[in-house]
Symmetry: C2
Amino acid sequence: MTDSSPTPSAVNALPAKQQQLIQTAFALFYRDSIHGVGINQILQEAGIAKKTLYHHFASKDELVLAVLAYRDEVFFNWLEQRIRSASSTEDTVQHWFAALDDWFHNRVAELQEFRGCFFMHSAAEFTDPAHPVHQHCAQHKTRLSGMLSKHLGQWLDSRKAKKLADDLGLLKEGAIVCAQVQGNKKAARQAALIAQSLLISAH
Amino acid sequence: MTDSSPTPSAVNALPAKQQQLIQTAFALFYRDSIHGVGINQILQEAGIAKKTLYHHFASKDELVLAVLAYRDEVFFNWLEQRIRSASSTEDTVQHWFAALDDWFHNRVAELQEFRGCFFMHSAAEFTDPAHPVHQHCAQHKTRLSGMLSKHLGQWLDSRKAKKLADDLGLLKEGAIVCAQVQGNKKAARQAALIAQSLLISAH
DNA sequence: AACAAAATAGACCGATCGGTCTACCTTAAG
DNA sequence: CTTAAGGTAGACCGATCGGTCTATTTTGTT
């Protein structure tokens, strides 16, 4: 496919219908899982014709990957913004779990109603580590950890920053699961306390 | 492993086919998710007729619930056994994460090849907290936490025991997710170190 | 006005979904 | 032997699956 018209500026502005499909698909996938939602359901919900979907995406699999990329971007940007203003290691930890707490209590509009981690869920539906979906999920978490690690690098040497970032990542996953499966909305605060003891004993 | 004891007539014990269906269904659900596996696939894999399935279970939903109960029992019994011999709070924590470490490294035959927490995955497929499947998943984790808390009660007062059990539960979930999504098999040891700092700072 | 890309509705395809049903075979207890 | 329950194979049901296709209309550029 050759695009004859020169596009000087950013390409990241996707066609409107494509965005609408991705957002609708995400909402449905997030609620009922990927395998649990059919193409026709997405089309009906979005009010978009089937031909249009297959004009933008070669298959359901490609739509799924686009949805993962979309959620990755939204979530990453949100969380990065939340810890950006932190002014110390301790402050970053506070911000990290305060953000999760807001998410669990549905105080973050752009993340939709909390239903756990979409990437966790998707990786569970595609257990083969070589599958593109699974790899995308792993990448998301690696990317988050890297972002946090880099941020902590302002006050810690890189080895300690990476280790703490890994630990905060593990605590984040644990909190998300507890919040989602058992409805324990206080899980973010619980994880924050655990992280506190981590900082104390690291002295 | 299957028992090859010479009991030709006793092999036809009543629940044999039912058990076989449940075990086959679990293996498939665990690998490809519940919504991703059809009835016919289960029947073909198990070598059992469709009529037999619907003789034992009223619907796929009921089979799913039976599979959850089966996994719940296997997992609970295994983990309880693993911490039963612990002789102190610290020892229990060691046993707890050593068990997870064995699981992640596929050293526990009865749990099948590690693919994360089946209840976590199932709760993600049925996000409605009122759905029987979701409730069963929540119950599983509550039951595990209760078991651990009771065990820790040997050396701690009940309030501290419950709090520590909750924290160990959160760390367990976090480790499972890291091990499954990112393939980080060292997550159990990582979580164990976090738990260590928890015990130290609790003094 | 002309034209191409984008989008529309919806019929249609073979395959599979969960589930029902008929008909026959095997087994154990009375 | 009789009988009833558990099991077999597999045809069959309407619905939905992911995906293709025809025919038509909308839209933006030139």
